[in-house]
């Protein structure tokens, strides 16, 4: 059997994930899956809104011709127009369909952006802790990921970012609300970041701000997600409807590039071309047609907020040090012992499956994905209390 060297390397370096996964499976077999509380997967639990499914059913029942054929690689024009309208209303910037590319989820969108932007050796700054897939998305296209530690509260450390910028820096990739920390960056820190990037721009170096907003609508306590388009000119937002419309398995998202980007045409053309040659060709047709109409909708966020409150309360009560997340469905507590892999093994012994922080670039922490049934969270209380040592 022969596989690519780089894939083989990825497999080896992630072998501990497999080992942990297998340990978890063993536990499930031993105690019954219902007795294992699995907080490892970011698989949204909510179903798409009722009206969404109704519209989808209406569409496939209609006799519109050519509904399942190829369309332009950037997606249906009318859908891109609907999304541009939504972006314009939100940002008060003149978005048109030509600023939007429909993609195979946010993961597909990010690969398209990097394929269009990166030459071998170009660097992309990523605040740490980070979603580990980013490393692959950047590396796939010859780029080099440059991690910059965030502050203790997981917010951006602007000075460190400024220091990390060099001649090869092509972009900074942010993810807010954040996986794995649940942190939402403030308007203020993003403005500081923009100030740094503009300084570079004035010296002739254009650095793109790429915002992965996959969790943009999963945001709590009335927090408002700062509008990055109004903070920095060279901004590309990549998002998807996996979370807000509960469509993770259908792979639908889009890229929105700022109308303030000067000389934008070659960039859009390159991304459309990348969408083609990377094998996406176009975002799934039927989902495109529906999501255009549901830009303002969302699954019930209260469902997630209730869970956030419950897990946060349990962790605090049992003595864990943890930052209260403002968005997404992850929480990233400090591990009571420095070795987070060891601690996650301890968790397993107490019937709880989590992911070590090292899997997100930050040892000494662990991630819990609380997009699980409420009952799973309630039942975890007993075990966390046992572990917390209070």
């Amino acid at each position: 059997m022969s596989i690519s060297k780089s894939i083989s390397h990825s497999m080896k370096s992630s072998s501990w994930i497999r080992a942990m996964f297998e340990e978890g499976e063993k536990m499930k077999k031993k105690h019954g899956p219902e007795n294992i509380l699995d907080f490892t997967l970011g698989n949204p639990i909510t179903e798409p809104p009722k009206e969404f499914i109704e519209e989808l059913t209406r569409l496939v029942s209609s006799d519109i011709k050519g509904m399942h054929r190829y369309m332009s690689n950037s997606g249906y024009e009318f859908v891109r127009e609907e999304i541009a309208d939504y972006c314009t209303k939100k940002s008060r910037l003149p978005f048109t369909k030509d600023h939007i590319i429909m993609t195979v989820g946010a993961a597909g969108g990010l690969n398209v952006v990097f394929k269009a932007l990166l030459d071998p050796g170009n660097e992309v700054i990523v605040p740490n802790p980070y979603f580990v897939e980013f490393m692959f998305y950047i590396g796939n296209h010859g780029g080099v990921m440059k991690l910059v530690e965030t502050k203790d509260d997981f917010h951006l450390d602007i000075a460190s970012i400024e220091k990390a910028i060099n001649k090869k820096t092509r972009a900074i990739l942010i993810n807010s609300p954040n996986n794995p920390t649940g942190v939402v960056y403030t308007e203020e820190e993003l403005k500081e970041l923009a100030w740094v990037l503009r300084k570079k721009r004035d010296k002739g170096q254009r650095i793109f701000l790429i915002a992965d907003e996959a969790y943009r609508k999963l945001i709590y306590n009335g927090t408002v997600l700062p509008d990055v388009f109004n903070i920095y000119e060279d901004t590309i937002v990549v998002t998807c409807h996996s979370k807000d419309l509960g469509l993770a398995g259908e792979r639908i998202g889009y890229i929105a590039a700022s109308p303030s980007i000067t000389n934008i045409k070659p960039l859009m053309d390159a991304m459309i071309f990348a969408n083609r040659i990377l094998g996406f060709i176009n975002a799934p047709a039927i989902m495109q047609r529906v999501v255009g109409k549901f830009q303002n909708s969302s699954v019930d966020m209260m469902e997630y907020e209730r869970r956030r409150d419950a897990i946060y309360a349990i962790l605090v009560e049992s003595g864990f040090e943890v930052i209260k997340p403002l968005g997404a469905f992850y929480i990233f507590p400090k591990s009571p012992i420095p070795d987070d892999i060891q601690f996650v093994r301890e968790l397993q012994k107490h019937h709880i499956l989590g992911v070590p922080g090292i899997g997100f670039g930050r040892a000494g922490h662990f991630r819990l994905a609380y997009c699980v049934e409420m009952d799973v969270i309630e039942r975890s209380r007993k075990y966390f209390m046992e572990l917390g040592g209070r």
Binding site: I45, G66, R69, I281
Partner: protein, 396 residues
């Protein structure tokens, strides 16, 4: 430059004349009206999915299962893979299981994850030419090198040339039969010759895989039987999609089938999982996986395509063109009456409002491609144009 030099080069390498042609096409459509332009440039079938596919789609959505739009395993739903494995088992007489099937975002997505999983930087893939241009991009996306090998006059494999093109770095040969752009289907003889060669290499210690792009597998005419490659050779991956047979190109659904004869294939499944995830596909669209599983034995009406092929082929013969009669897919690849086929294509567009693609877009100058997946009426209305063109170049 706002974009990467690499992608800039790729775009300018191939998009020069396509863009010019595309824009010229738009201009002509504006001038003559859409209905008076005969557009044979796109492989975008005008057919609708079979009725039972549409019905099942409605039923599936009307009886929602909890969690049916969520993530699933990167290789797809197990029950769907199971159904496909059973079908392939019947087709090829080999013990396929659900683990040999990997659901993908169409054929293009399937080829990309497979190539990423197979190729290390500098590895070579042999591609018989003329070829579907995207193959080159797919291979180079993952650090591979494309070695083109011209096919024979009848577009069958030239085994002698393939043998010469094999180097120590050759990792795979990528076959596309029925073929885009020629419509040729590799004969049993052609394929046996190749297998003999590859087995010889195997005996010398070099494993070369055959990757079959089977996108047009079900569109075969005159009762022709595709050779069973899985039975003939051990190291086979087949990549297919339901863009053509179920007319679902916009929905991006297909799969990779791994030969049960590949030893240790589990390693490849793990590699494909990583590629699927990291290239950003994550999984094939959930809803259409469910459809694909149920309709392996279904196909759009092939007789319709055959009628169109016969009609177009007869027209071209009557007009005096030289052309190999296609046995599959919905493309024809006639010889251009003049050496500079780009000029010929331009004349065809301007004088007759017939839009086709120059052969150099498929690695063979002096030819042009006609995609006849258009309404019969369009074919009928274009007859005069082809006839006059035949006369214009004294083909008769």
């Amino acid at each position: 430059m706002i974009i990467s030099n690499k992608i800039q080069k790729l775009i300018s390498n191939q998009e020069g004349w396509t863009r010019r042609m595309f824009e010229e096409g738009l201009r002509i459509k504006k001038e003559y009206g859409e209905e008076n332009v005969y557009d044979f440039s796109l492989g975008n079938p005008d057919t609708e999915p079979p009725d039972e596919v549409q019905k099942t789609l409605i039923e599936t959505l009307s009886n929602p299962i909890k969690g049916m739009h969520r993530y699933m395993s990167n290789n797809g739903y197990e029950d769907v893979r199971e159904e496909i494995a059973i079908y392939l088992g019947e087709q090829y007489g080999l013990p396929f299981t659900a683990n040999h099937i990997f659901m993908t975002v169409g054929c293009a997505g399937g080829l990309n994850i497979l190539l990423k999983s197979m190729l290390s930087t500098g590895d070579e893939v042999i591609v018989p030419s003329p070829f579907f241009w995207e193959f080159k991009n797919y291979i180079e996306n993952h650090g591979g090198k494309t070695r083109f090998v011209q096919t024979k006059k009848d577009f069958q494999l030239d085994i002698g040339k393939i043998e010469k093109a094999i180097t120590k770095k050759t990792k795979a040969i990528l076959l596309n039969s029925p073929n885009n752009p020629t419509g040729a289907v590799y004969t049993e003889e052609s394929v046996r010759g190749l297998v003999e060669l590859l087995n010889k290499k195997r005996a010398q210690g070099q494993d070369i895989y055959i990757i079959c792009d089977d996108a047009y597998r079900k569109i075969v005419y005159d009762g022709f039987q595709l050779p069973n490659l899985f039975a003939l050779y051990d190291l086979v991956y087949a990549v297919t999609s339901h863009s053509k047979d179920l007319a679902l190109p916009g929905e991006r659904i297909g799969y990779v089938a791994i030969s049960p004869r590949i030893e240790g294939y589990q390693l490849m499944v793990s590699a494909l999982m990583i590629s699927m995830r990291t290239l950003g596909f994550v999984n094939a669209p959930g809803l259409f996986q469910r459809i694909a599983g149920k309709f392996q034995r279904t196909s759009v009406n092939i007789a319709e395509y055959q009628k169109k092929r016969d009609f177009l082929y007869n027209t071209l013969m009557e007009a005096g063109f030289e052309c190999v009669k296609p046995v599959g897919a919905f493309y024809m690849f006639p010889k251009s009456p003049i050496a500079d086929e780009v000029e010929f294509v331009r004349v065809l567009q301007q004088e007759e409002q017939i839009m086709v693609v120059p052969g150099r877009g498929f690695g063979r100058k002096g030819y042009f491609r006609i995609a006849y997946c258009v309404p019969m009426e369009t074919l009928q209305k274009s007859v005069g144009g082809f006839m006059r063109t035949g006369k214009r170049y004294n083909l008769r």
